[in-house]
Symmetry: C2
DNA sequence: GACCTAAGTCTCCATTTTGAACTCCGGTCT
DNA sequence: AGACCGGAGTTCAAAATGGAGACTTAGGTC
């Protein structure tokens, strides 16, 4: 009931338009974009496959794909099926592939908290088959628990 | 998580409504929710502070907060300021706190790819002050690079 | 009673999204 | 040639969503 402890924080220390997270959220934070990226990580790359799999309206899909290509997250690449004209598919760029940790983190959280039974997909070490989870680690590979981390603000001009 | 080359994949191996990622995306994937959580991690917890900081319409904010409380990501807690009636603030629940890795992954990706200069915020080891990044690791704390991981589907009933 | 503030609704209008139909473009079939 | 096909969009009216800002509520002070 009381309020004694923590000081009141009235605003975030980083302005929205200077915040990578806010920008990422602006780019990815809509109903379709994350789902499209999920498909992309699974390797689904063609317009019609995406549309059928997500049950998304064509216009919505078309718009998101254009945006993601423009932002360099996806690449539009020509392909040619036997007996067909050249068409285009959407593949992750390197920038897009680096979103893997975000998607995996989201997946692991969602599997744990928004589903009832065991997760349908595990991420494992390709060699040893050990299960992997998203963590924080130093450059040298030492894992640090969430309770033992702190945020450090960078001074405005240093 | 690889996407090189030939075989055509026409659909994701996991149905949308059985997919934790898809559900998480449904819950978090809109314009305000991720930003609200960002504020929550910074410790901003009161309605008016959030509103001012995000410049969000009251109705939007009110709706998201209700949803996040309903989903157990935030907790609505009473507090009492001097000379005021009891009011409520929104704090992360344990479930919400576990979203930290998602948000940090998003932040690190956004800082790297969507901003020009150096990131305004680092996550460090509270003791050693070493910089930390989001990674995948085994239960024993061995870090594995993204190129060395594989997805494993769990059989439908095992 | 008049007024204050934080928190939340309500109303109305602008934008976005949707589903369905239509177009475009090569290629194939007859 | 002309009709048809299938993937990849585009267009458009109708519907849903979203926002700005006024209004309301609840307890407390003066």
């Amino acid at each position: 009931m009381s309020n004694s402890g923590e000081p009141r924080i009235t605003s975030a220390p980083i302005a929205l338009d200077d915040c990578g997270m806010a920008r990422a959220s602006d780019l990815l934070g809509d109903r379709w974009t994350l789902l499209i990226l999920r498909e992309a990580f699974y390797g689904v790359s063609r317009f019609e496959d995406l549309r059928a799999d997500l049950d998304a309206p064509r216009a919505a899909l078309s718009g998101r794909l254009d945006l993601l290509v423009e932002e360099g997250v996806l690449e539009k690449r020509p392909y040619q099926e036997e007996k067909s004209r050249v068409r285009h598919e959407y593949r992750l760029s390197e920038k897009g592939r680096e979103l893997a940790l975000v998607l995996i983190a989201l997946m692991q959280w969602g599997d744990k908290h928004l589903r009832d039974d065991r997760p349908p997909l595990d991420i494992v070490d390709a060699k040893t088959r050990e299960k992997l989870t998203v963590t924080l680690a130093t450059a040298k590979g030492r894992v640090v628990r969430l309770q033992d981390v702190a945020p450090v603000l960078r001074k405005r001009n240093s």
